[in-house]
């Protein structure tokens, strides 16, 4: 543990108290949920930790076809919840069982994954593809699609606000998630998530996101538009692979080169799209 500057630890009882404590520290306090990031952090500026695991945000609920998940719900709790397992024919199970390893999933929370938003993370990619909505409370209650949140200076937002809920909309279709990593439990070298709806044998809608490029997840709206109205076929999947390989925005980092990412991006996206379409057609 390297947070040597921390002098106080608070157990907040509700969102209001967490916000009030956060405000009192003037930027030198941090909200503590699963603690996977803060437990590894070497920040020297923090003086206070505000535990938010007891503020009533650990829940999974189905409402009007939407799946609402409180942000302090751990990844294991989501994986074990019947409603979360049912959502979009197991979409969340497919993603979450590939995120980190079981003891870290016992600690990590959904909200932590959204706020940390590591560019290589799998959960933001899936949430962007699924059209998830984030809700938070600061000076007032606000909400935005996760993909829109990531276009804002969201880290500054959550220095003064508590992310309270992630809501997943109902979709008439199927979903697939692909991840390339060196070993099971490792972080992604590239990931892709895709939702597809099929009507009369043709793709009615598609949502595709690619992450760990090494930038954070972005939707491939040009591909989504191109897929609409097309009938699933091997020829189509080959075109998807070639076009993604040509147009993907990829870069270098210490884990993989841009050239390598380009060479695999087409395959990863093709697999996600084809598998989602195959499931949607069943």
């Amino acid at each position: 543990m390297r947070l040597t500057g921390v002098r106080r630890f608070h157990w907040a009882r509700d969102v209001e108290e967490a916000l009030s404590l956060l405000d009192a520290y003037h930027g030198r306090g941090a909200l503590l949920a699963g603690g996977v990031d803060l437990g590894r952090s070497a920040r020297t500026d923090l003086e206070g930790l505000i535990d938010i695991m007891g503020i009533g945000l650990s829940y999974v609920r189905e409402e009007d076809g939407r799946l609402r998940i409180g942000t302090t719900t751990t990844l294991t709790e989501i994986l074990e919840h019947p409603a979360a397992r049912r959502y979009l024919h197991g979409a969340l199970v497919e993603v979450l069982c590939r995120v980190a390893v079981p003891p870290l999933r016992n600690m990590a929370t959904l909200g932590g994954a959204v706020v940390s938003a590591h560019p290589w993370a799998d959960i933001p990619t899936a949430l962007v593809a699924l059209g998830a909505e984030a809700r938070w409370e600061g000076e007032r209650e606000e909400h935005a699609l996760v993909e829109e949140l990531y276009r804002q200076p969201f880290r500054a937002v959550f220095r003064r606000a508590v992310l309270t809920e992630i809501a997943l909309p109902p979709w008439n279709g199927a979903f697939a998630f692909e991840k390339l990593s060196r070993s099971a439990g490792d972080i992604a070298l590239l990931n892709a998530a895709c939702g597809v709806g099929i009507q009369d044998g043709k793709i009615a809608w598609a949502r595709v996101a690619v992450g760990a490029t090494p930038a954070r997840a972005e939707r491939l709206t040009w591909l989504e538009e191109a897929l609409q109205g097309e009938a699933p076929s091997d020829t189509l999947w080959r075109q998807v692979q070639e076009e993604v390989e040509r147009r993907a925005k990829v870069g270098d980092d210490r884990r993989a080169s841009a050239a390598w990412r380009r060479s695999v991006a087409g395959v990863v996206v093709r697999r996600a799209v084809a598998r989602a379409a195959e499931r949607a057609a069943r």
């Binding site: 079981p102 003891p103 600690m107």
Partner: protein, 157 residues
Amino acid sequence: MKIYFELNGVPQYPEVEPGESLLQLLRRLGMKSVKEGCGTGDCGACTVLVDGRAVRSCIAFAARAQGKRIITLEGLGTVNDPHPLQEAFLDAGAVQCGFCTPGMILVAYELLSRHPDPTPEEVRTAIVGNLCRCTGYRKIVDAVMLAAEWKREGRWR
């Protein structure tokens, strides 16, 4: 600040520092089975059970133990009265240097508490985050499968 928690069935009221890790606290309380390996939650040597769930104590805050039930390897068995999982690790030859063993056994304990009849693949998935650099994983998987068999036969206490 003073916290309260249950360690291997025994109430504890230690003073903890706000930034202290659970690993530091547990070792301070004499639980030397809790090993510091990577210190970043990646290797699994520091794994303990918090309310029945395996967690990485090196990145968990000690203050978070407040009100929890924590089990370390010392709480499972002793040299004279080993837990069946410990016996299975010995029988299967799943221990060499032993540094990863406490974490491996506690992760296996959580798995078998929830899934008493796992496949070898499910065991491999459960221990995927616990690194062993000398025994190799095959005998560890064999040991967990053996312990699972004993559990189904009612040989666990």
